[in-house]
Symmetry: C2
Subunit: 362 residues, 2 copies
């Protein structure tokens, strides 16, 4: 069978060498006589995994000393709740910059638990764009400003942190962490669940400036309390050992690939190739204004709307999978995470051209 | 190398056939062309895994129709918080029956978040025991009564639900679920994290009587809200796909082994063999009164206290691992979960006798 290439938005494809290493170590983790699935969370072998994962993240992202790296349960959604539970309350509200589906969802959850201000910054005209920073109407008293670095459903990228931003910036980087270098010290807190570029579902990486801990409320539910994770080095209860192990393996692969500058360049090149095909096409249409286009998740409509099911079926015959758009958006979505091999994007580009040519003939 | 037998309290050993099946399916899950680690959570393949896991749990535990089965993030500790967040508040308190470390920890977390009454039922005299039910001093107005079915650190088993109990009983069965039949309808809610008898860390199984949902507070953090899990069939956000897959495989193995009556009998036989060796020994000492002894986690002291490190070292040379007692208790602890093969308990019993004989000679 032809190799399958999976373009799903997450859980996403893992690098093949990582999968093979996991398989190789599955029955006996490095001569412990135990499977990695059985490894105790208070063993030296696990502490080594956790510490190496932390160290690799610190190196790859050049995380400054004053930030802590935490491994928390439950994915990014856990942080939608943990943020207001830790930091908001009487007299303390936050601003939420809404640029698409996920930032709006984070805002909605915070609004259930505390007082927040929703700043609608997604502009839906001819094309999709984000309102310029001077129009954001920020509250100078806000405890933090929340944003999303990359909206996977709209395919919109945050255009970068404004130079003169005064707010403590909290950023959901679930889909973009490890795809580009990050100036970590421009942020107060960064979080990302791991099922896209960092491994498997059920884990969330949090990078937070330690001085924020002084502002944490009492009480916060145990598994949402940032102070406990810092104090107990992410072993607040039994952590998801296997997910942290997969994270370490993925980080090691990222390092061997050349780190974030190399992966970022690869991502820009690949997405530019795809946007070129879309822009030159009479059949495919991406609606995002060029300066806000995501290089990670690229949604497009098929102008001949009746052709969508044919497109997906024929793509499937070419072993190009996971291309159906999010149920709220329809159409097609291509997710180009780090693990996608060159051969995958090449086969996709060829298929896009061939499909359009066939449509013209019929 | 001699086969390793792992007696750790959790994360615990998995059945060897389950590990081999996971390894076999790791690179290509049942001709999907995807690894199980890449499987999307909104795919038919995942829904099948979730539904089969649910169905197997329903069959094995004979769960009545009026109960829902939920798969939640974060292990049992998540439930320590979720219970008060969902059900307690102004005018609604709960009773917590404390019979050891874990029930006390559940109580402490609930007490941080709501009003609860702690009922100290662990009696520490000559031997450890649980106070009889008529001494519990329950609040008839309590929203629920929380208990722990098996205390892994003290090695104490809950003696069964009192016949005339009126309270809505909530039970932490983290270490005992799947080790004995359960009369589910005697409980209002049962929960168990999966890293002992059900699979790997990062997941919690919750079995709750659906009429309880009418009493849920507003707002509850999204990933702690039982109503959402029922409504969305445990896909509230990206669930821990791999942990649910491992759960399904373990449940399938339990079914093939003959189900809970068979595993329960096996557990009783094995633990009785071990207690016999301990009771006949002049060196080893288990302090739990016989009628409260756990058949699952069996802690004991070595009377010649200087011999503990020798014991653990020599056990390690016989590939008997994970025997060190919990850091709060010291001594030795033997955990006899379902996955332990007969050969493991046989080698342990032989070692216990041989070690004692050697000690007598020196």
């Amino acid at each position: 069978m032809q190799e399958v290439f999976y373009f799903g938005a997450g859980p996403a494809a893992l690098p093949r060498p990582v999968l093979e290493k996991i398989r190789h170590e599955l029955l006996d983790y490095r001569d412990t006589g135990l499977s990695i699935l059985e490894l105790p969370h208070r063993s030296d072998a696990f502490f080594e995994i956790r510490d190496q994962a932390t160290q690799l993240l610190r190196e790859l992202l050049q995380i400054p000393e004053e930030f802590a790296v935490l491994f928390m349960h439950g994915g990014a959604t856990s942080q939608f709740s943990a943020l207001p539970l830790n930091f908001l309350g009487p007299g303390r509200s936050a601003d939420y910059l809404c640029t698409g589906f996920w930032s709006s969802r984070a805002c909605a959850e915070a609004a259930r638990l505390a007082e927040v201000r929703k700043i609608q910054a997604l502009c839906e005209g001819e094309s999709l764009s984000i309102a310029p920073a001077q129009e954001w109407d920020l509250d100078p008293q806000a405890t933090y400003l929340h944003c999303c670095d990359n909206e996977t459903i709209q395919g919109i990228a945050f255009p970068g942190v404004p130079e003169d931003l005064k707010s403590a910036l909290v950023c959901d980087m679930t889909s973009s962490l490890l795809m580009h270098p990050v100036e970590v010290d421009k942020y107060a807190l960064i979080y990302a669940s791991t099922q896209k570029n960092l491994g498997i579902a059920g884990l969330c990486v949090v990078i937070l400036r330690k001085d924020l801990l002084e502002r944490v409320n009492e009480p916060v539910p145990r598994l949402y309390d940032y102070r406990r994770y810092v104090r107990q080095d992410s072993v607040v209860n039994t952590p998801p050992v296997f997910a942290i192990y997969v994270l370490r393996e993925v980080l090691d692969w990222v390092r061997k690939e050349g780190g974030l500058p190399v992966l970022h360049q690869r991502s820009l090149t690949r997405s530019a190739q795809l946007y070129r095909v879309l822009d030159e096409s009479a059949l495919y249409e991406n609606r995002v204004a060029p300066e806000f286009r995501s290089s990670i998740n690229i949604p497009f409509a098929i102008r001949d709307t009746g052709a969508l099911e044919d497109f997906l079926e024929q793509a499937g015959q070419h072993q190009l999978r996971g291309l159906r758009g999010h149920r709220s958006a329809g159409g097609v979505r291509v997710s180009l995470y780090n693990a996608m091999p060159d051969a995958g994007i090449a086969r996709l580009l060829e298929f896009l051209s061939d499909f359009e040519a066939r449509q013209r003939r019929t």
